[in-house]
């Protein structure tokens, strides 16, 4: 008898996404995780029908800041989101079936003049999500917390951990 798969107990492997990085998985029994988002945004795309998922950990809103230098696409939202979408579709996902979740964008207190990356990132993500017609099903952004996230590629659930608090699912 073939043992049935139990996601609650299985030790699913975890693919780690660094800062300014993106990763996808076509293997359902996989987690994709990134640590300590801070003011960065962690964006998950998941095609539940085909169980293909991906994650982007972008630091800054726009690549225009680099003024002609060679860029790392995943560092910026305006280049990283299209790249992640392209890679997922090449891997077999269908755009119409992709659901998006967004995390991070933490902000310091009273930041009208300085250290506004969190709010700039959230504004840019909102704009891009409209322009690209993304179906965003969860927003867990802003505030003063450092989030670590883990996408369960089997279910599309995202497990969120913040310091000194229990994990929760979005």
């Amino acid at each position: 008898m073939v043992p049935s798969y139990n996601p609650a107990t299985a030790q699913m492997p975890t693919i780690i996404v660094g800062v300014a990085d993106l990763k996808i998985s076509t293997e359902p029994a996989t987690y994709i995780a990134t640590h300590a988002l801070g003011s960065c945004l962690g964006i998950t795309f998941h095609d539940a029908k085909r169980r293909i998922g991906g994650m982007l950990h972008a630091m800054l809103p726009t690549s225009k800041i680099t003024q002609g230098e060679k860029i790392r696409e995943a560092m910026f939202l305006d280049t990283g989101i299209p790249k992640l979408l392209t890679v997922l579709i090449r891997a077999g996902a269908k755009k119409a079936d992709i659901r998006c979740k967004v995390f991070g964008g933490a902000q310091l207190m009273a930041t009208d003049n300085f250290f506004r990356i969190g709010s700039k990132n959230i504004d840019m993500f909102y704009r891009l999500s409209q322009e690209m017609d993304l179906e965003v099903v969860s927003w867990e952004v802003s505030g003063r917390v450092n989030r670590t996230i883990r996408l369960n590629n089997l279910t599309g659930d995202v497990i969120v951990k913040i310091p000194s608090k229990p994990e929760f699912i979005r």
Binding site: I16, V17, G18, V19, A20, D21, T34, H35, A36, L37, G38, S39, C40, M59, L60, I65, T66, Q67, E69, I71, R72, M75, G104, A106, Q107, L108, M109, A110, T111, D112, N113, F114, F115, R116, I117, G118, K120, G143, R144, V145, N146, I162, P163, S164, K165
Partner: protein, 289 residues
Amino acid sequence: MKSATDLQTVVEMTRSIPCAPAILPKLLKLAEGGSADLGEMEMLINLDTGLATDVLRTANSAYFSSNQRCESISDAILRLGSKVLYRIAASTLTGRWLVHPVRGYGWEPGDLCRHSLCVAICAETFSKKMHLADASTAYTAGLIHDLGKFALAYANFTSLDDISDRVPAEFSTWREAEKVVLGFESTEVTKALLENWGFPSTFVSVGHFYQTPSEAPEVDRPLVTLIHAAKHVATQLGYGVGVDGFYYEPDVEALQAAGFKDEEMDAAIPEILTTIQRFISPAGDIRFT
């Protein structure tokens, strides 16, 4: 677990912390100015077996190694140069100290080390762009800026939990809550520790005033403001940031007076991140060498 007590008690308790970076000020003095006394530097490094091992391992690593192996600390010093050697020593000594698990701030083991390293790298990068301080000095100041928090956590106060509860409930800053709950701020602990260990007064000013650089002595204000900026940029990057991290306010007056501009700090982030990723893996592991 202990209840709140006075500042002096915290400082007394931290005297027993293992591996305090007490030889760092002496090494810094030797490395400053580019005319280091290599013999004295060798003697200092040899006082600490772990540090001596790290120095030899780095000198023989693929990055630095030539055809000949370094067999002694004096060979390693010649190969690495005093500046690189100082950087290794600073990172190794403080990193070893900061790697213990720490509760109260919601830090995982190594988080304070990761965050301090990021502040050091941000400070070093800004020092080159802004010319507010020597790069090695800025790097060291970044590493040691928040030692008082480690000391408080090491002293294991339940009061730290009261602070983390109070801050979101009352929309107060972390330092305001420290003052109410503890009766003093963690920066005062940092100041006392750095004074006890014989760090130069500039570093004591950094530890004491990095959250409020406008209040720093004028002579130290450029470096203190640099660390203030570096601290907040590093916080935004997220590495090792605990429950306290975002509950601070920028000192806008000091930042503007020092010439910082928001867009220019953002533009430096790709370079900063590339440097950080040489030392911290995607999984958060730290590799100093």
